[in-house]
């Protein structure tokens, strides 16, 4: 069990540092990729729905804790994102899912939901239309994060070929 959660938590630490130091430099108007969420999605697809939800819960808690935000908001959004990513868990198709463009679609979907829930909980933002809110707080961060899933796809493709 410890080993199962150990690896994602080990990956989480450098990603958290990158998220808090480098990502602000490549963000535009607060819209940036969520590297931490990539870990949750990746391991949810690998291990399943319950694992994804629990991992999202733990990583969300740690992220809230260290980032200085409202504790519980990322926990909530990442738990749901991990749970949704777990829907795409298929024991026989793990490598296929992680090594194809479908992974990008999953990241886009989960990241959009995560960003939307995070914004709904933490924002007191007044936007002109609901569509604008969805576009800015859900669609764009989702798109940005999904672009960062490319290295993972390339890596899994190479691993697949070696196998």
């Amino acid at each position: 069990m410890l080993k199962k959660f150990g690896l994602p938590l080990l990956i989480f630490i450098p990603l958290l540092i990158l998220q808090l130091t480098v990502v602000p430099l490549i963000s535009y108007q607060g819209i940036g990729p969520d590297l931490v969420l990539l870990t949750v999605i990746y391991f949810s697809i690998k291990e399943g729905q319950v694992f994804g939800a629990v991992l999202g819960f733990i990583i969300g808690f740690l992220f809230d804790f260290f980032s200085g935000g409202i504790i519980g908001v990322s926990m909530f959004s990442k738990t749901i994102a991990g749970f949704i990513a777990g829907y795409f868990y298929n024991e026989n198709k793990i490598d296929l899912t992680l090594g194809s463009a479908f992974f990008m679609v999953i990241v886009f979907l989960c990241s959009s939901i995560d960003s939307l829930l995070f914004s709904l909980f933490s924002a007191s933002e007044s936007v002109s239309t609901v569509t604008a809110f969805f576009f800015k707080r859900s669609f764009l961060p989702g798109l940005y994060t999904s672009a960062f899933s490319l290295p993972s796809i390339i890596y899994n493709n190479k691993v697949d070929r070696i196998k």
Binding site: G68, I70, S124
Partner: protein, 273 residues
Amino acid sequence: MIIFLLKIYSFIKEYIILCILLVCSLFIISLNNTQAMNSIRTYSIGSFALINSAFTNFVHLFYHEDSLLELKQRNAELMLENNILREYAIQNLELKGLLKLQDTSKINLVRAVIVSKLTSSVQGNLILDKGTDEGIYKGMPVINDKGLIGIVSHSSTGFCKVKHINNSHFKIAVKDQRSGIDGILNWDGASLKISNIQGIDDILIGDRIVTSDFSTIFPPDIPVGIVKRKEKNSSSYSSTVIVEPFVKIEWISHVFIIPTIRNIQIDSLKAIK
């Protein structure tokens, strides 16, 4: 019956776990403002900032020439501005002497480096490399050469957390420097706004917005931004002013902390009276 219940449980096990986790998250959100949670958070910021500071130093290597040139230009502008202010200072001293007022303009600033920035568009926070060791405590204003940045919200040994102007929980009393109209400035996730202002005609686009004398947190007349746009509320007679901040949070790496807490100053003044 038990077998039936077990079957149902195995069927919806995932959803039960999800519900438990979500309820836990919501419960923790509700506990956010408690003293215990604040002290845990302060400790966590301190420990994480230590690791993060090493990476920040590395990231700072990539700050390009543009910012250096911009700083040189700013220095030249300040030098010219300084000459004018010297004249005013002499006049001010004379007048203060006549009125027998004490000089309160000398403030010792504490220089700090930003160790971490939170990316969220609504919960803008910074972590600085100065803490209780250097006499930095909750409630101290944070500025740079351009204007107001935020306020220290937590402080621990060696590090402190700053709630900056791009934070929806950050509200400050400001005024239009030209007309003197007061208002409350806050971040709505996209822009800085002064809401529900009466007498919008007295505020002009391009006016400087500074901290108000009514602020119980900030010293007066710290530059905040300029008026960018005016919007009339269709539902009421009041209006909203959109403010362009002087400080671009995305590009700052060094800040200054004013090591005074306004509330304590006011309290001490009241005690003297």
